[in-house]
């Protein structure tokens, strides 16, 4: 049975999943404290039109899907930020509007693409059937994200606490820019494994769990990685045992952990 669970595909899924866990959890902690949980969700959906178009043009190749996703993900962020002032709406309202638009556009492209676009894989991920490119992208995103977050940690923390202090400092502006680039990169890497609908769960779920276990933000980032890795392993193992897509299991484990943490750690 052990052999059946830990075959080559599961091994690849595990490598990809562990690097994604390391990449997403610290970013998720910052999304949560900056009250940007919806932005992560929006970005997950924002990649859909590009992903479906990439699948359509490349015949379903993962590099084409990722490339398309990266382009629309970045474009949405740039566009949403530029029109926010014009529309005089809160940031979350603008992102909500754009993610609904992205979702609709993606579904239309998928419908046009017909059999060439595997919408289920794009929406819910296919972590047990990853090719080399996708595994490499997850490893790359994990390393870059970890290094990037360490590099921008202090200025990002400062701007998360007090956005007015040193508001014109290039250090702060650069840190915020890099944070969104990392978020876009990791989102693109994550959605092929967990899908556009579920990938936000691996960002926000571990962060919510960690919040209840207390400590300073550095410790919460570390705790969130543990929850993220744990959920990834449990999801994969049970996915193999039950022979179902592990992505919803990973997210479900995180949701259960978050609710359980809230009850166990009532003082928070």
């Amino acid at each position: 049975m052990i052999d059946a669970i830990f075959d080559a595909q599961t091994g690849r899924a595990l490598v990809s999943g562990l690097f994604l866990a390391i990449a997403t959890a610290p970013i998720g902690v910052f999304l949560l404290v900056r009250r940007l949980a919806l932005v992560g969700d929006a970005l997950g959906h924002a990649v859909l039109p590009g992903a479906t178009l990439g699948a359509l043009l490349s015949g379903g190749a993962s590099w084409g899907i990722s490339f398309g996703a990266a382009i629309t993900g970045s474009a949405l962020f740039g566009f949403a930020a530029s029109v926010q002032k014009r529309m005089k709406l809160q940031e979350d309202a603008v992102f909500a509007l754009f993610y609904l638009g992205s979702l609709s556009l993606g579904l239309i492209i998928a419908d046009i693409g017909g059999a060439q676009v595997d919408l289920e894989d794009i929406l819910f991920g296919n972590i047990l059937n990853l090719d080399n490119f996708t595994v490499f992208l997850s490893v790359f995103a994990g390393i870059i994200s970890l290094g990037g977050m360490a590099y921008i940690y202090k200025p990002l923390l400062l701007s998360s606490i007090d956005k007015n202090f040193l508001e014109n400092s290039p250090k702060i502006k650069n840190a915020n820019g890099i944070f969104y680039v990392l978020l876009a990169l990791v989102s693109v890497a994550a959605f092929q494994s967990l899908g556009t609908l579920l990938s936000v769960g691996i960002f926000i779920g571990p962060a919510i769990c960690a919040k209840y276990w207390g400590g300073e933000i550095k410790r919460q980032m570390l705790t969130s990685v543990f929850f993220s890795i744990g959920a990834m392993i449990l999801g994969l193992v049970f996915g193999r045992i039950l022979e179902i897509n592990p992505a919803p299991l990973v997210v479900l484990v995180l949701v259960i952990c978050a609710i359980a943490s809230a009850f166990i750690r009532r003082e928070f």
């Binding site: 404290v33 900056r34 200025p155 400062l158 606490i161 007090d162 040193l166 300073e216 919460q220």
Partner: protein, 225 residues
């Protein structure tokens, strides 16, 4: 080190909050900016800090180590960070962190060293103002611009901050503070009194400081009405 204000006009659109202000502050001198609500104290201070553009005139500062403490903070206190780490973030204002003052020293200066390990969300309003002041002090500023720092402090804390400002003056810093309660302005070297709709301004030399007559805001408002 010097802070020179030449023929300064501050306002919005075509309305001047005040105009024609000249002032000159040297190392180790302090300026109290007095006036009612809405007379432009915060706008003036933000202009001094380079965050607002003056309508007219010039502000010349001979040091780029200038820090500004706003009147209201949009601080996310839910972020779990200790006071010492929060204060240490002030070093980001510096290009070269070797020039920074130790966070522990800054906390001791403002009198909250025992709170170093507490989370910022656990501080009282007054303690938090002191923590913010300490965060500004780690960048070792030459000029401190503080917008109504006493607003949320009790009398004892306000006196502690006043004493701290005296100590900083003795270290050669230039201090500019807007103050709502004129009783706290005793001890400052210079005064600018902003008087709202009449766009009057007053700048008094140190020798005149005890003769400084503060405008009766209520009387002015009634007169204007």
């Amino acid at each position: 080190m010097e802070l020179v204000i030449e023929n300064l006009a501050i306002g919005f659109g075509e309305t001047n909050l005040f105009a024609g202000l000249d002032a000159n502050l040297k190392s180790g001198e302090s300026l109290a900016v007095l006036g009612c609500n809405g007379t432009g104290k915060s706008t003036f201070l933000r202009a001094l800090a380079g965050l607002n553009t003056a309508k007219q005139g010039r502000i010349l500062v001979s040091s780029n180590r200038l820090c500004f403490l706003p009147q209201t903070f949009e601080i996310n206190k839910e972020i779990p960070i200790s006071v010492i780490d929060f204060v240490e973030l002030g070093t980001l204002a510096l290009e070269n962190t070797k020039e920074a003052v130790q966070a522990t020293t800054a906390l001791a200066l403002v009198g909250i060293a025992p709170l170093a390990k507490k989370l910022i969300g656990q501080l009282s309003a007054g303690q938090f103002v002191k923590a913010c002041l300490a965060r500004n002090l780690v960048s070792n500023p030459d000029i401190l611009i503080l917008d109504e720092p006493f607003a949320s402090l009790d009398a004892t804390s306000a006196q502690e901050i006043l004493q701290l400002l005296e100590n900083l003056k003795a270290l050669g810093k230039i201090i500019v503070v807007s103050i709502h309660d004129e009783r706290l302005s005793i001890g400052f070297d210079h005064f600018v009194t902003l008087s709202g709709s009449q766009a009057k301004w007053e700048y008094k030399k140190p020798t005149h400081k005890h003769e400084c007559e503060l405008h009766d805001c209520k009387a002015e408002i009634e007169q204007a009405a």
